[in-house]
C-alpha cells in the first residue's frame, strides 16, 4: 500500500524534476518519445522503490540514471533505429538501478532546449503552451485539458500530433544558432505571456490561479536559464507585478476593483520585490524592450499608488516608448487612459475616437475605456451604451456586474 503522503511528495518532487530529466536525455541524443517513456518508467520504479524507504538526497541524479538506462534499452528495441551506427553497447541495467550510486552533482539544466522546441515556428501556436506544460512541467494531458477547457482526448490527441510532427518532420532538438536565439526566445516570451493572460480573468477561479502560477514558474525558470536576455527578465517582472495584485482585484463580495481603488494592503509585497529585482537586473543591460517597458509601467503604477510619484506625465512617456516598440491595441488604450489622467477626459476621448485599429469594436477594453471617459465627461447616455458593450463583451461575472445590471 503506497503511503499517499509519500506518493504526493514524490509526485511533486518528480514533477519539478521532469523537465530537467527530459531535457538532459534529449541533449544526450535520445528521441523525445523514448525520453518520455524512460522517465515514466523511472517514476514507476521510484514509487515502487520508495514506498518503504525515503528518497535519496540526490533524487534527480538517481532518477536520471534509471531513466537513462531505460532509454538505452528502449532505443535498442526500437527497430527503426537498429540501423544507427552509434548504438551504445551497455547492457540493460534497469534492474540494477536501485543500487546505482547517483551522481552527487545536481543534473545540468538543459531546459532551454525544451522552451525553444515547444515554440518552434513549425508547431501550431495553439499547442505550444500545452506542450510546454507537458514537457517542462510534467503535467498530464488531463490537467492541461481542464485548464484549456477542452475534452481530455482532444488535448491528448493534439499533444501526440505535435510530438509526432517533432519526430517525423525532424524538428531539431538541438539549440539554434546564436543569431537565431533572440527571435526564437521572443516566441517563447509571447507564448508565456499568452499563458499568463489565460489565467488573468476571474482571479479567484482556482483553475486560473493554476495557469498563472505555471506561467510564473516557467518564466522564472527561463529567467534563470537566460539571465543575460533582458526581455526575459522584463517579462518575469511584468508577470510578478500583475500577480501581486491578484488578491486586491476583487473585494470580499467578489466584485471587480479597478487599480485606482485597490487596497494596497492586499498587494503581495514579496512578489513586488521580486518583480523589482528582475526589472533592475533587466535595465542594467540597457536594451529596452516591450516587456521591460510594460514592467516599468507596472512599477510606475505601484510607486504612484504608494507615493504619488511618478505622475501620469512620466507614465505617459513610458507608454509612448512602449507603443513605438509594440503598438498593440491594449497598449494604445492604456496610454489613452493615462492621457486622460494627465490632460483630461476630453483630450483622451478625442484620441480614442481617432484610434484606427481592426477589431477595436469587438475588443472589450475599448468599450471599458470609452465608458470610463464618457462617464467622466458627464455624457450619461453615451456612457451607458459603452458600458453595455463592455459588459456584453466580457465573460467575467464580476466585470459584467461592474458595468451595470
Amino acid at each position: 500500500m503506497i503511503d499517499p503522503d509519500l506518493n504526493r511528495s514524490v509526485d511533486r518532487a518528480f514533477r519539478t524534476s521532469y523537465g530537467k530529466l527530459l531535457a538532459l536525455l534529449i541533449q544526450q541524443g535520445f528521441e523525445l518519445e523514448i525520453a518520455e517513456d524512460a522517465i515514466g518508467a523511472a517514476l514507476a520504479e521510484a514509487l515502487h522503490h520508495w514506498k518503504t524507504e525515503t528518497p535519496p538526497a540526490q533524487f534527480e541524479g538517481w532518477l536520471f540514471t534509471v531513466a537513462k538506462h531505460r532509454a538505452i534499452d528502449l532505443r535498442r528495441r526500437d527497430s527503426r533505429l537498429e540501423r544507427l551506427p552509434s548504438l551504445e553497447t551497455e547492457t540493460s541495467l534497469s534492474t540494477q538501478a536501485m543500487t546505482v550510486t547517483p551522481d552527487p552533482e545536481p543534473i545540468p539544466d538543459e531546459r532551454l532546449r525544451l522552451f525553444l522546441l515547444c515554440t518552434h515556428p513549425s508547431i501550431d501556436t495553439r499547442i505550444q503552451t500545452p506542450l510546454m506544460l507537458q514537457l517542462i512541467l510534467g503535467f498530464q494531458a488531463s490537467d492541461i485539458a481542464a485548464a484549456y477547457l477542452v475534452p481530455e482526448d482532444a488535448m491528448a490527441q493534439r499533444l501526440v500530433r505535435a510530438k509526432r510532427k517533432i519526430r517525423d518532420a525532424a524538428i531539431p532538438l538541438e539549440l539554434p544558432s546564436e543569431n537565431q536565439l533572440p527571435e526564437r526566445l521572443e516566441a517563447v516570451l509571447q507564448a508565456l505571456y499568452a499563458l499568463y493572460n489565460r489565467g488573468w480573468d476571474q482571479p479567484t477561479n482556482p483553475d486560473h490561479l493554476s495557469t498563472a502560477t505555471e506561467a510564473l514558474e516557467l518564466v522564472q525558470v527561463l529567467a534563470r536559464l537566460q539571465p543575460d536576455y533582458p526581455e526575459v527578465l522584463g517579462l518575469a517582472a511584468l508577470m510578478l507585478y500583475c500577480e501581486s495584485r491578484r488578491a486586491a482585484r476583487r473585494d470580499s463580495l467578489d466584485q471587480f476593483v479597478p487599480l485606482e481603488d485597490q487596497d494596497l494592503i492586499r498587494w503581495d509585497t514579496s512578489l513586488i520585490e521580486q518583480a523589482e529585482t528582475f526589472l533592475n537586473a533587466a535595465s542594467k543591460a540597457r536594451q529596452p524592450g516591450r516587456f521591460q517597458l510594460e514592467a516599468a509601467i507596472q512599477s510606475a503604477h505601484v510607486s504612484r499608488r504608494r507615493t504619488g510619484w511618478p505622475t501620469y506625465s512620466e507614465i505617459l512617456r513610458l507608454y509612448d516608448a512602449l507603443i513605438q516598440l509594440a503598438p498593440t491595441l491594449s497598449a494604445k488604450l492604456a496610454r489613452i487612459v493615462a492621457l486622460g489622467e494627465h490632460l483630461g477626459a476630453a483630450h483622451a476621448l478625442t484620441e480614442l475616437e481617432q484610434l484606427i485599429h481592426p477589431n477595436y469594436a469587438s475588443f472589450q477594453p475599448y468599450w471599458a475605456v470609452r465608458a470610463h471617459l464618457l462617464t467622466l465627461l458627464g455624457d450619461e447616455s453615451q456612457a451607458a451604451q459603452a458600458r453595455s458593450m463592455a459588459k456584453s463583451l466580457s465573460e467575467d461575472q464580476a466585470v459584467r456586474a461592474f458595468f451595470g445590471p
Partner: protein, 118 residues
C-alpha cells in the same frame, strides 16, 4: 531526412519566364539549384520545374465516373511551379534553404518530409 520543397509562384512570377525578365528569372533559379548542390542538400535527378498552371488538367474519379477539369487542382493565387527533394539533417536546415528560393519573397515554399522507406 528527405524533404520535398514545393515551390509556389504567383501569376506575375510565371509571366517572367518569357520576355525581357526571362534571363533574370531563370538565372535566379539556376543559381538557387547550384547553391543547393553546393550545400550537398540536393537529391539529384529528383526535381523539376513545372509548366504554368494553364497547361494543367485535373482528374478525379467519383462513383466510377472520371471527372476531368481544365486547370490546376486549386484555384489559388499561388500555384505549384516546381519542386526538389532535399536530403538534410533537420527541419531548420530545410527551412533555411527553402527561404532562399527565388519564389519565397513573392510566393511560398512548402517543406514536407517524404515518407520514410518501410
Amino acid at each position: 531526412m528527405t524533404y520535398s520543397l514545393l515551390f509556389y509562384e504567383v501569376e506575375s512570377e510565371f509571366a517572367r519566364r518569357e520576355g525581357p525578365d526571362a534571363p533574370a528569372y531563370w538565372g535566379a533559379w539556376s543559381s538557387y539549384i547550384d547553391l543547393l548542390a553546393e550545400e550537398k542538400a540536393l537529391v539529384p535527378g529528383n526535381g523539376a520545374g513545372l509548366q504554368p498552371p494553364s497547361l494543367a488538367t485535373t482528374v478525379r474519379v467519383r462513383s466510377d465516373q472520371q471527372q476531368i477539369q481544365d486547370g490546376p487542382f486549386a484555384d489559388t493565387k499561388e500555384q505549384l511551379a516546381g519542386f526538389v527533394l532535399l536530403d538534410v539533417e533537420n527541419l531548420d536546415i530545410a527551412l533555411r534553404l527553402a527561404a532562399l528560393a527565388p519564389c519565397a519573397t513573392t510566393g511560398a515554399v512548402e517543406v514536407r518530409p517524404i515518407m520514410p522507406n518501410p
